[in-house]
């Protein structure tokens, strides 16, 4: 969870406990659980519901959904395995965890592809019924691993999920397919029992979801309870586990994914600016949900467009921005390529615009459902000519809201396109978010010019600049006398007329850069976690933030002279960053790419920073990062 202070004891949402247990309970500080099964097995739903129950129980939580690029590859194949990892704890946590304590697998393929994530001696709960000869073969097993002793290092719990589910539903008149679809609730019931989660939550959800299908409603509730009872009654499980509530800052909370966060941030910014919100996108994993989300918010007057392609998406947003609306376009890396030319047009016309890039594994089509942060240099440099613009990156799901809001605010204040970076793990990952009070959100002043009198008796000057921000005025279309023309050809400053003049071009290139540089005014001092001098500074941007916080906290607790700083604005870099770096013997830059921020840091500050780069479609591993930091420390 994010930056909240811990001031008071937890107060889990208290519904009466309807299910009673007589088994003993052990207390744990944190647990990482991973569910894995076929894409059709309801894994994401199961994971989400368990997360919600954990959050309501007052735990801090962080999730990592891990699904395949195929929609629903044939059942039982390795290609079709979908995973969901949840970290819940009685203390503040910042990552979904490297490895899991518990792995729940619905079939052999899920085991084969997820076994590597299970900790030594961890619990493996396996749907034993699915370990048929056919499924084993599809997963590449020659023998049944549940039987052949190969899992001896783990605690294996075999559960005949299919049979037990079937037993629970006998006589209800359901088809085999319908029965099959219920089995994830059996698993959910079992883990709810195991971790003492509040069952009411699931039952309420089932009530709502199957309101129009009473038979399925009853069936799912029955199966869920059967799962719970199974835990209570089977000898396999001897204890339950209790993870106490975490100390969390007081306030109202919800669970938030990064994609929800940016969508809400955009709406909030538009409302605070008093502007209409226009969002245009072309579907692309993992950004599509932002479009889906915003298309629901019609009461806020949000206009969304599913454009014919990414070029049309950004261009229509430019049209809307010219029309004096807060305009946003969102996509992932391949779409950013297509938008590049038009982003240059927005730079030239100095129109406010936010371009959201939910980064995924690249290059090219790459690994669409995996995470990566390798579009940074593209965001900064990926256009023809000198084409600078501010770039901001979110560090976590909850941070996405603030970054989205901030991106809009800066775009409007400086009359400039801004690129907002998140990534697949942030977009789909969830964490508790302390909901801000709407009235506490900062206002966003917009300098719309709606009256010809603004220019007195002089000519209309679309490129007349404001002193501090260098922003040009945003002339309100439809105003008599303010007619003007914008375009992508170089123009005279102030008048905005076409200019091929040599000195003016030099001046305009410098001015566009100066305007972006001026955004440093918006940046608070760079926070350093730990001392401001020491052996190693870990410098992060984007989603590795959580792993860095965790690793640095651990090492500091061991007395190491390690600190952590995080940059939210990547272009321009914070004005005090050079001074921060200067306090350390070594600088380590962990990135899920082959070294991008590090290039900027080295070029800007001439500091011999070192990279820690893992490009494997996964969040940075805390353990590996810790080792990398240790390597930088004096031995």
């Amino acid at each position: 969870m994010s930056e909240q202070l811990h001031t008071s004891a937890p107060a889990p949402h208290g519904a009466p406990i309807a299910f009673r247990s007589t088994k003993p309970s052990e207390t744990l500080t944190d647990v990482v659980i991973r569910f894995a099964g076929d894409s059709g097995d309801g894994i994401q739903l199961t994971g989400t519901q368990f997360t919600q129950a954990s959050a309501l129980a007052g735990n801090d939580t962080a999730t990592f959904p891990d699904f395949p690029a195929e929609i629903r590859a044939p059942a039982g194949t390795l290609a079709g395995v979908s995973g969901f990892q949840l970290h819940f704890a009685s203390s503040d946590i910042f990552t979904p965890g490297d490895l899991c304590d518990v792995l729940v697998v619905m079939n052999p393929a899920a085991l084969a592809s997820n076994q590597k994530w299970l900790k030594e001696h961890g619990m493996l709960i396996a749907n034993a019924d699915a370990f048929t000869a056919k499924n084993l073969k599809m997963a590449g097993y020659e023998r049944n691993p549940l039987d052949d002793g190969s899992l001896a290092d783990w605690q294996v719990f075999r559960v005949d999920l299919a049979r037990l589910t079937n037993d629970a539903l006998i006589g209800m008149g359901l088809s085999a397919k319908e029965v099959e679809r219920c089995k994830n609730y059996f698993a959910l019931g079992l883990v709810f029992w195991l971790y003492e989660r509040q069952p009411q939550l699931v039952e309420d959800d089932i009530e709502k979801k199957f309101a129009s299908k009473p038979l399925l409603k009853d069936a799912n509730i029955k199966v869920f309870r059967a799962g719970w009872d199974y835990g209570e009654n089977t000898d396999q499980f001897r204890v339950r586990y209790h993870v106490p509530a975490a100390k969390i800052a007081p306030g109202k909370y919800r669970s938030l994914t990064g994609n929800e966060g940016v969508a809400l941030g955009f709406v909030a910014a538009a409302q605070k600016a008093g502007l209409g919100l226009y969002y245009s996108g072309y579907p692309i994993t993992p950004a599509s949900d932002v479009l889906h989300q915003l298309s629901l918010y019609k009461e806020f007057g949000v206009r969304t467009m599913q454009a014919e392609d990414e070029i049309a998406a950004v261009c229509s947003a430019i049209g809307a921005s010219f029309g004096n609306w807060l305009a946003i376009t969102g996509t992932s890396g391949p779409g950013v390529c297509l938008k590049a030319e038009a982003i240059g047009l927005a730079v030239m016309t100095e129109l406010p615009l936010v371009i959201l890039d939910v980064q995924r594994g690249g290059p090219s089509t790459g690994l669409p459902t995996k995470t990566e942060q390798a579009d940074l240099l593209q965001a900064i440099y990926g256009r023809n000519g000198e084409c600078p613009l501010p770039v901001i990156a979110a560090r976590s799901p909850a941070d996405s809201f603030e970054c989205a809001f901030e991106a809009c605010r800066v775009a409007l204040k400086y009359m400039v396109p801004v690129i907002l970076l998140t990534d697949g793990s942030i977009a789909n990952g969830a964490e508790p978010w302390r909901i801000p009070n709407v009235d506490d959100l900062p206002p966003i002043p917009v300098r719309l010019v709606k009256d010809r009198a603004h220019f007195g008796d002089g000519p209309v000057l679309p490129y007349q600049r404001e002193a501090v921000t260098l922003a040009r005025p945003w002339l309100y279309l439809g105003t008599p006398g303010l007619e003007h023309r914008l375009g992508g050809i170089e123009k005279w400053d102030s008048t905005g007329h076409i200019s091929y003049d040599a000195a003016n071009h030099h001046h305009m290139v410098k001015t566009r850069q100066a305007k972006v540089d001026a955004v440093t005014q918006e940046m608070p001092p760079t926070e350093v976690i730990g001392d401001r001098t020491g052996d190693v500074l870990v410098l992060s941007w984007g989603s590795p933030w959580g792993a860095c916080v965790t690793a640095v906290q651990t090492l500091r607790a061991q007395g190491r002279a390690v600190s952590h700083a995080h940059v939210r604005w990547l272009n321009p870099l914070p004005p005090d960053l050079g001074a921060v770096l200067a306090g350390f013997r070594r600088v380590l830059v962990p990135e899920i790419n082959n070294g991008q921020l590090i290039k900027l840091v080295r070029a800007t500050y001439l500091v011999d920073a070192q990279g820690f780069n893992r490009i494997n479609g996964q969040p940075i591993s805390v353990a590996e990062l810790t080792d990398a930091i240790l390597d930088q420390l004096p031995h």
């Binding site: 109202k252 049209g319 010219f322 047009l345 279309l477 439809g478 008599p480 023309r485």
Partner: protein, 343 residues
Amino acid sequence: MSTLAPETAPIAYKAKDFSSDQDVRWCPGCGDYSILANVQRALAKQGVPPHQIATVAGIGCSSRFPYYMATYGFHGIHGRAPAIATGLKVVRPDLQVWMATGDGDSLSIGGNHFIHLFRRNVDIKVLLFNNRIYGLTKGQYSPTSELGKKTKSSPFGTVETPFRAVSLAIGAEASFVARCIDVDAKGSADVFAAAAAHVGTAFVEILQNCNIFNDGAWEHLAAKENRSDHTLMLEHGKPMVFGAARDKGIKLVGLRPTVVKIGADGVTEADLWVHDAHDEDPTRTFLLSRMEWPEFPVPIGLFRAVTRPVYDQLVNAQVEAVQRTKKPDLQRLLDGSKTWTVA
């Protein structure tokens, strides 16, 4: 920058009220000059003040158009004017949006946005300056250049069958299609007036002469001496008569149009194909788009104007319908459906 047309002015404009203070930089003799004048005249007649109009363009000689108009203007990037105009129109239904484009801009690089504009039927008036060549890049062939045409990029002649802009628009579900000639002020006036009045995407193909790189491309239609015999002025509800002596007509034989002589073989005007610009079925419009000289006179004027769902209107209607029943509450939106409180 024009400061004309304050809201208190009477709604009576002159063509020059639509003329900006920017120097026009087309080549002397270019057909674009006549088009500019014809559009400015049509706008003056229409009576919508310059500040309530936006002109959007792509890139090309033709796409310099917005600079010369005293309206709000946007000179975009190559081929993307339809997308820019769509975003603008959706958020600013109060503005009348015109779009200027070339045969390269719209039919080559911009082809995708072009067809989607028609499909969505966004309320935008599209002026396609078809000179069958790339002007601004100095004379390469375009998607409307004749098969075999020799240009800088096709020194041995092109090997590409041209698009027929009107066929393509019809194939893309266009609700309004018309055609006029740069030098024909009268025909242009009628067509621009109809486009201005249409709600939905109004497509006007303008046959334009590029006297530098493709001089005389439309001479067989544009020249005074050819016009009445080589073109067919379409008039809704009227039989298709043409010729200087108005003695020729088009008859439909089965599904095939045929040129007939009125008076000969007992043919009278009553036998002729009667133009129906409001026919819901686009097949007959499509048929008109296939009529090319010298086999046929080339149809000029309003081909088709029908009413069908308009994208920007529907987008806004959908929002307004929700807004009538649901109040925006930002705090509730941020809260979402499941919250918990830590004291």
